[in-house]
C-alpha cells in the first residue's frame, strides 16, 4: 500500500478549514494513547489536559495570560514566514527585549512616573528588533543562513540574562538568589477586573495587534509586498520590491513583537528579572504561527489552543504526577499533524495498492 498525491486544480477551501480540525482530532487521539501507555485512564487524562483547566475562572485568566505572549510573538513570526524569512530565534529576541526594557526599573529604581511603562515597552521593542536585526543583516550582507544564526543567538541571550541576574544586576536584598530588585510600582502592569476576571492590558494589546495585522495583510500594499516577496522573489523584484529591505523589515518587526511580549510577561507576572522568564514562548509561538496558518485571526485561535496545552501540562503534573514534558510532546505532535494535513489543501491523497506505480497502472 502506498500513498500517492494527486495535485488539485486549485486550493481546496473546505480543506483549509477542515485540515486544522483533523490535525487537532488526530492529536487528541495520540494524547489519549500517551496517557494509556503511561498507565492512566485516557479519558480522564484528556479531560484533565484539554478541558479541566477551562472550567474555572482562574483557569480562564491563566489561559489568557499564557495565550497573550504566544499570540503576539506568533503574529510577528507570521510576517517573517510569509515573506520567506526563517526567524527561529524569537525566544532570544523576547529575552533581550525584556532585558533592555528592564533598564529603567533596575538601574533607575527611583524614577517613578507614568512614563516608565511606555518607556519600558518602547525600549523592549527596540531591543528585540535590534537583536533580530543581527541575523537579518548577516543574511542580507553575507548570505548567512538565518535559521542557524537566529537560533544560536537564543543561547547567547539566555546566558547573558543568566550572567546579568547572577552578576551586575543581582539584588543586594535578594538573599543571594539570582534575581534583580523588585520593579517599583510604576514599572508594574496591574490587571484589570472585568466581571470578576482579571485581565492584563497586554491581552488587549494582543487583540489590537491581531486587528491591525489582519487589515495590513489583507488590504494594504505592504501586506501585498510581504506575500509577493514570500511566494516569488523574482515577481517581487519586477514589482520593484526589495528582497533585502523586506528581510530587515520582517526580522525587525518580529523581534519588536517578541521584545514587547517578553517585557509584558515580566512587568505583569514576574515583576523582576530572573534566570528564566519564559517557558519557551518564543519556540512555541512557531507552532502557533503555523497552526494559525500564518493568518492573524487564525493565530489568535491557535494561541488559545496551545496556551491550554501549557495549562494541561501543569494540570496533569499536579493531579497525575506525570512529566509536564507531555505538553511539549503534544505540541510537537500537533505541529506534525498540522503540516501533514496541510497537504490535503493542495493535493488529493490516494492510497494505492501494490508496490509501485507501474504495477498499479498495469
Amino acid at each position: 500500500m502506498r500513498v500517492e498525491l494527486v495535485k488539485r486544480p486549485e486550493m481546496s477551501r473546505t480543506m483549509m478549514l477542515v485540515s486544522p480540525l483533523i490535525a487537532v482530532g488526530l492529536t487528541v487521539v495520540v494524547a489519549a494513547a500517551v496517557f494509556a501507555v503511561q498507565g492512566f485512564d485516557p479519558l480522564q487524562g484528556l479531560w484533565l489536559f484539554f478541558l479541566e483547566p477551562l472550567t474555572s475562572l482562574w483557569g480562564l485568566e491563566q489561559l489568557i495570560t499564557k495565550a497573550t505572549p504566544l499570540v503576539i510573538v506568533a503574529l510577528g513570526l507570521s510576517v517573517c514566514y510569509l515573506s520567506n524569512n526563517w526567524n527561529i530565534g524569537a525566544e532570544g529576541q523576547l529575552t533581550i527585549g525584556a532585558i533592555v526594557g528592564s533598564i529603567p526599573p533596575v538601574l533607575f529604581p527611583h524614577f517613578v512616573s507614568p512614563l516608565v511603562l511606555p518607556l519600558m515597552l518602547i525600549l523592549a521593542a527596540a531591543g528585540g528588533a535590534a537583536y533580530a536585526s543581527v541575523p537579518a543583516l548577516l543574511k542580507t550582507r553575507f548570505g548567512t543562513n538565518e535559521i542557524l544564526t537566529s537560533l544560536m543567538l537564543v543561547y547567547c541571550s539566555t546566558l547573558f540574562l543568566d550572567w546579568l541576574v547572577r552578576g551586575p544586576w543581582r539584588s543586594p536584598q535578594g538573599y543571594n538568589f539570582p534575581i534583580t530588585i523588585d520593579f517599583n510600582e510604576s514599572a508594574i502592569l496591574n490587571p484589570w477586573s472585568i466581571g470578576g476576571v482579571y485581565v492584563n492590558l497586554s491581552a488587549f494589546v494582543a487583540l489590537a495587534l491581531v486587528a491591525i495585522l489582519a487589515v495590513v495583510m489583507r488590504s494594504t500594499l505592504k501586506g501585498f509586498e510581504i506575500r509577493v516577496l514570500g511566494q516569488s522573489p523574482r515577481a517581487g523584484a519586477f514589482a520593484g520590491f526589495s528582497h533585502r529591505r523586506m528581510t530587515l523589515f520582517a526580522f525587525a518587526l518580529s523581534g519588536a513583537f517578541a521584545g514587547l511580549a517578553g517585557m509584558m510577561v515580566v512587568m505583569a507576572e514576574i515583576q523582576k528579572l530572573q534566570p528564566v522568564i519564559s517557558p519557551g514562548y518564543g519556540f512555541t509561538a512557531i507552532i502557533v504561527a503555523f497552526l494559525g496558518r500564518l493568518n492573524p485571526v487564525g493565530i489568535l485561535v491557535a494561541g488559545l489552543v496551545i496556551a491550554s496545552s501549557y495549562l494541561g501540562g501543569e494540570a496533569i503534573q499536579t493531579s497525575l504526577q506525570m512529566s509536564s514534558k507531555v505538553a511539549t510532546l503534544i505540541q510537537g505532535v500537533l505541529l506534525f499533524f498540522v503540516l501533514a494535513c496541510d497537504t490535503l489543501i493542495l493535493y488529493r491523497v490516494r492510497l494505492v495498492g501494490g508496490p509501485s506505480r507501474e504495477t498499479a497502472r498495469a
Binding site: V3, L5, V6, K7, V34, Q38, W86, I88, L138, F142, G143, T144, N145, I147, L148, T149, L151, M152, L153, Y155, C156, L159, F160, D162, W163, R166, G167, F283, I286, I287, F290, M322, S323, K325, V326, A327, T328, L329, I330, Q331, G332, V333, L335, F336, L339, A340, D342, T343, Y347, V349, R357
Partner: protein, 304 residues
C-alpha cells in the same frame, strides 16, 4: 595537562561529528532536516534506558541508533510522502523529541548509568603521550572516524553515492532517469537519524553516564551548522567538529588556564563561534556555491 585537554576535546567533538556526518548525507540528498536536536536527544534517552535495562552499554548505543532512525521516519513521512514544509517539520521533530525524551527519561533522572569502557590494548594504550589518545578511546570515537571515511568513499567513489548527489542537485532529472527520489531520500533521512541517535547515545553512555532533560543542549543545532561549515565535504567536517569541541570545553579548562571570564560567556563561545564561522563561510561564495545541493530543502512530488 595537554593530554587531559586533548582527551576532553575528543569526547566533546565525537557527538558533534557523529550527528553532523549523518546530516551531511541527508542534505546531500536534498533534504534539510532541522530535527537533529530532537533525534539526538531521543538517542540519548534510548541509549541510557537500554543500557540501564540490559546492563550493556553497547546494546544501549544500538538502542540510541535505532531510536534516532525511528523518529527520523516521522519526519520522512511528513516531508517526503506528504511533501510538508521541511523547515517546520524539522522543528516539529525537535519539539517532539524533546517532549518524548523528557517523558521517557523521567524515571531515570538521578539514576547513575554505566559508562562505555574505553579501549585498553596492553602495550599500545600504555605508550607514553600518544597511548591513551590514539589507542585508549571508546569504540564510538573510532566509529565516528570510520563513518566519515565511509561516507566520503560512498559519496564520491560509488555509483550509489553519485545517484544520491544527483538527486540532491536535481531531483527532477534524477526522477526522469528512473531513480526513486523519495526512496533514496528516505534511506538518507534514516541514516541521518541513526547517526544523530548515535551521537545522542554517546552523550548519555560515554560522555556523562546519566540522563538529564534536554541533555543534547543545542549540539544538534551546532551539528547542522557544521554541515554548512564543511561546505558539504566530509573531510572538512572533522576539522569543524574538533574545532567546536575544543571551543566548547574551554569552559572546563578556563580556570586552569587562568582565564577570568564569567562562565556564561565561555559557554556562549561555541554558539558565537558558529555564527562567526557561518558568516565567514557564506561570505566565501566560491567555497559554498559549488557544493551546496541545489535542491536542498525543496519538496519533490513525482509528476504522473
Amino acid at each position: 595537562m595537554l593530554e587531559a585537554f586533548i582527551l576532553t576535546v575528543i569526547t566533546a567533538s565525537t557527538p558533534l561529528l557523529l550527528a553532523a556526518i549523518g546530516e551531511l548525507v541527508v542534505e546531500r540528498s536534498g533534504v534539510l532536516n532541522l530535527g537533529v536536536e530532537g533525534m539526538m536527544v531521543m538517542g540519548a534517552v534510548a541509549g541510557f534506558a537500554v543500557t540501564n535495562v540490559t546492563g550493556s552499554p553497547l546494546l544501549g548505543i544500538l538502542g540510541g541508533l535505532v531510536a534516532g532512525a525511528a523518529v527520523s521516519l516521522l519526519f520522512g513521512f511528513v516531508t517526503l510522502t506528504l511533501v510538508a514544509n521541511q523547515v517546520a517539520s524539522g522543528l516539529a521533530l525537535t519539539l517532539f523529541g524533546l517532549g518524548l525524551s523528557g517523558l521517557i527519561g523521567e524515571a531515570y533522572v538521578g539514576t547513575p548509568g554505566l559508562r562505555l569502557p574505553a579501549l585498553d590494548l596492553p602495550g599500545l594504550t600504555d605508550l607514553p603521550v600518544v597511548g591513551r589518545i590514539l589507542f585508549g578511546q571508546d569504540v564510538l570515537v573510532y566509529v565516528s572516524f570510520a563513518l566519515v571515511a565511509a561516507v566520503s568513499w560512498f559519496l564520491f567513489r560509488t555509483r550509489a553515492g553519485l545517484v544520491l548527489r544527483a538527486i540532491g542537485d536535481n531531483h527532477g532529472s534524477a526522477h526522469a532517469l528512473g531513480y526513486s527520489v523519495v526512496g533514496v531520500r528516505y534511506l538518507a533521512v534514516m541514516f541521518g537519524g541513526a547517526c544523530a541517535g548515535l551521537g545522542g547515545a554517546y552523550l548519555s553512555v560515554a560522555y556523562t553516564p546519566q540522563w538529564v532533560e534536554n541533555m543534547s543542549a543545542g549540539r544538534g543545532w551546532i551539528a547542522l551548522a557544521l554541515v554548512v561549515f564543511s561546505s558539504w565535504l566530509p573531510g572538512r567536517l572533522v576539522i569543524g567538529a574538533y574545532l567546536f569541541g575544543a571551543v566548547s570545553i574551554l569552559n572546563l579548562h578556563a580556570q586552569a588556564l587562568g582565564i577570568g571570564i564569567p562562565s556564561q560567556f565561555l559557554t556562549m563561545l561555541p554558539y558565537l563561534a558558529t555564527i562567526v564561522v557561518l558568516v565567514a563561510i557564506s561570505g566565501n561564495r566560491r567555497a559554498t556555491a559549488f557544493n551546496t545541493p541545489a535542491c536542498l530543502g525543496k519538496s519533490f512530488v513525482p509528476d504522473r
